[in-house]
Amino acid sequence: MGKPVLVIPCSGIGKAFGSIGRDATFRVVDELRKGKADTLCLSLLVMGDEEARDKVAAAKCIAVDGCPLECAGKNIVRSGGSIAAHFWVMELLKENRGLKTSAVTFLDENSVKLSKLLAERIARKVDELAEEDQR
């Protein structure tokens, strides 16, 4: 098996989007694609941690942003990484109007559903990127 694909969420603490993106990331790296995908602390990366930077430089990165402010995407690029795929929780909500939620601290029923939907999409992208590596 090749290097894990890095899935990096914004983990924005002020909005529901950040919580959903974070939850979806953990579903992917700890459950759906355990061993095939990994994550790391965005802040650690931006603060210049060498190990984090080396990981990002060597791996394919998927940015998971909550909203158009794109903190994950921007911070990955500023830290020398490149983004192989980008997901926005807000875009997912646009497709799923019935799943509106404002839960930030603890996910509610709708945010769990959104998280699962997002996790499935991210997992499929992890498969695609991992397959590219093997060719």
């Binding site: 002020g14 909203c67 807000m90 909500l93 109007r97 939620t101 404002s102």
Partner: protein, 152 residues
């Protein structure tokens, strides 16, 4: 860029009021030139509502009546009505907004404009607020909102 705006700060939030526009009590700005005007929502409006995910816009040819709803925005929590500051006819709406409603949040005074209107009663512009007067109104509204918001 700071000179283009009046602004106030509450906690960490900076609320901007663009100079050279007129404003309604309902937080809508008007950029009028003769009988034509461009309208949009203020920084305070977009921030109070949060990230806009869905919206309903007027269509070309629609009549607007001052004081009546002409658009609505839906955020993750609530639906906001946008109240027309003038009476007139819509000549164009911002096509960028349907696929990208977050444009309003990112740039409420620029790329986030909502509609262009031919005004039917120019006298209505006299009832609108200057940027300075709107800033004062906004200060009161911000204070009220900050009281309502817990933990944000």
């Amino acid at each position: 860029m700071a000179e283009e705006y009046l602004q106030m700060t509450a906690d960490k939030f900076i609320f901007r009021v663009k100079k050279n526009l007129l404003y309604s009590q309902d937080d809508v700005w008007v950029d009028a030139a003769g009988a034509k005007a461009k309208i949009g929502v203020t920084d305070f409006f977009q921030r109070r509502g949060g990230d806009i995910i869905f919206l309903e816009l007027p269509r070309e040819g629609d009549s607007l009546t001052r004081g009546s709803r002409f658009a609505s925005f839906e955020t993750i929590k609530v639906v906001f009505d946008v109240i027309s500051p003038v009476s007139g006819v819509v000549t164009r709406t911002n096509a960028e907004l349907e696929p990208n409603p977050e444009t309003i949040n990112a740039d409420p005074y620029g790329k986030g404009w909502i509609a262009e209107v031919t005004i039917t009663d120019a006298g209505e512009l006299d009832g609108l607020l200057t940027p300075e007067a709107y800033l004062e109104l906004m200060k009161g509204k911000v204070a009220e909102e900050m009281k309502k918001i817990k933990g944000k």
